[in-house]
Amino acid sequence: MAVAFLVLPLVGLVVRAPWSTIGPQLAQQEVGQALRLSLFSATLATLLSLVLGVPLAWVLARSRIRGRSVLRALVTVPLVLPPVVGGVALFLVIGRTGILGRPLYEHLGVTIPFTTTAVVIAETFVAMPFLVISVEGALRAADARFEDAAATLGADRWTTFRRVTLPLVAPGIAAGAVLCWARALGEFGATITFAGNFPGTTQTMPLAVYLALQRDPEAAIVLSLVLLAVSLGTLLLLRDRWLGRGVAA
């Protein structure tokens, strides 16, 4: 039942796809542009999430700082917040008239909204919690006694983290990164609000799909299939190459 529920809409897309005109549809310049931008920004958002998210997950799982449960609740805010509201919130902070954005614009002449940077920021905002939560789960499941043992053998904190903790939770980090990447790739609401929609700079595949739907639903179906095919292909490839069989994509 669950499989049918998840797969039948996909079958619907494949059945309704205009296979006879799919060639010319794909040849359009905007399709390649949007796909490249989507892959580029989702990958960058995932890297950014790894750099910021893994240390955060470690703090949530291992440290004994006060207010940890509050911190954990805050991490899940982007999961609950409608992405469009997330986009408006980003405006209010780093928009041109935002709390941080105004000085940035007035002193350095830097504006973030409606740029590719804005796409990456919006995607990171929405997708990073997926990584943080799965890495935290992996850290909790990992036996902390190995770390204690390493410490008693004279390893400093950084060495312990690098040589003991990271290898232990690597599958969790990989799974989190995959989830994060997939969420970033499909991100729509925060992106269209905060980054706008312009072919080549901010129009990612989900945005292109939404706009195609206004004009030509068949084109939207073709674009969705391209996005699905590319993301499934990438995930399968990654799984075979790097993740081993231990991680389900």
Binding site: V88, F91, G95, R96, T97, T111, P113, F114, I192, T193, A195, G196, N197, F198, P199, T202, Q203, L207, Y210, L211, A212, L213, Q214, R215, P217
Partner: protein, 251 residues
Amino acid sequence: MKRLIAALAVLTLAGCGASDGGSTDGVTGTVTVFAAASLTDVFTDLGHRLERDHPGLTVEFDFAGSSTLASRLTEGATADVFASADTDQMDVVTNNGIVSRAPTLFAMNVLEIAVPPGNPGGISGLADLADPAKRIALCAPEVPCGAAAGKAFDAAGLTAAPDTLEPDVKAALTAVQLGEVEAALVYATDVHAAGDSVEGIEFPESEDTLTGYPICTLTDAPNPAGALAFVQLVTSDAGRKALTAAGFRLP
């Protein structure tokens, strides 16, 4: 422009039964109206008025981009009335046999430049929206306000220099209200509805962006009497007065 006038004349002649003057007694139940986002305020008011005139009647609205509504209708959504912000999207619905009678044109709108209060970008006309140095929001060409913007730039012989192509007119307006862009092309009625949060600048080429709003009852309307009553109200003197007050022009 000539073609537009011809199209309008046909639409007006065809009529939608608004002039039937039929009895609206027994109008009750729920009437569902799919209407273009730009009609939000004026239709909400007219809906309340209809509910007052017919106790027992509830008017429910779905406001969205006309093209979104048209595709919902062709995908099988149930509604009693459809009011579109352009004739193209009404044609989509008409061609699918969802409209019971030829649509009536009930309002007109033109584009206007919206700028944040105080006009920080020093925008004075359409030429400023063709300046790449300025931060500009337009509607995407797939939606009616974007198509109209294209006509304005064509008429002026300018190439637009937008930084973002928004999916609907309210999104473009929001970018202005937040001060994130120096100008956007929106409908005159949006500027009107936004009050003090934006300033409007009229421009001569806007006459080429005149768009007509058709309305019609739908073939499979669950509440045909309610549907007719709503269309009659919109095209009545009271309806025309409300539309004018909201910044619409009349056909």
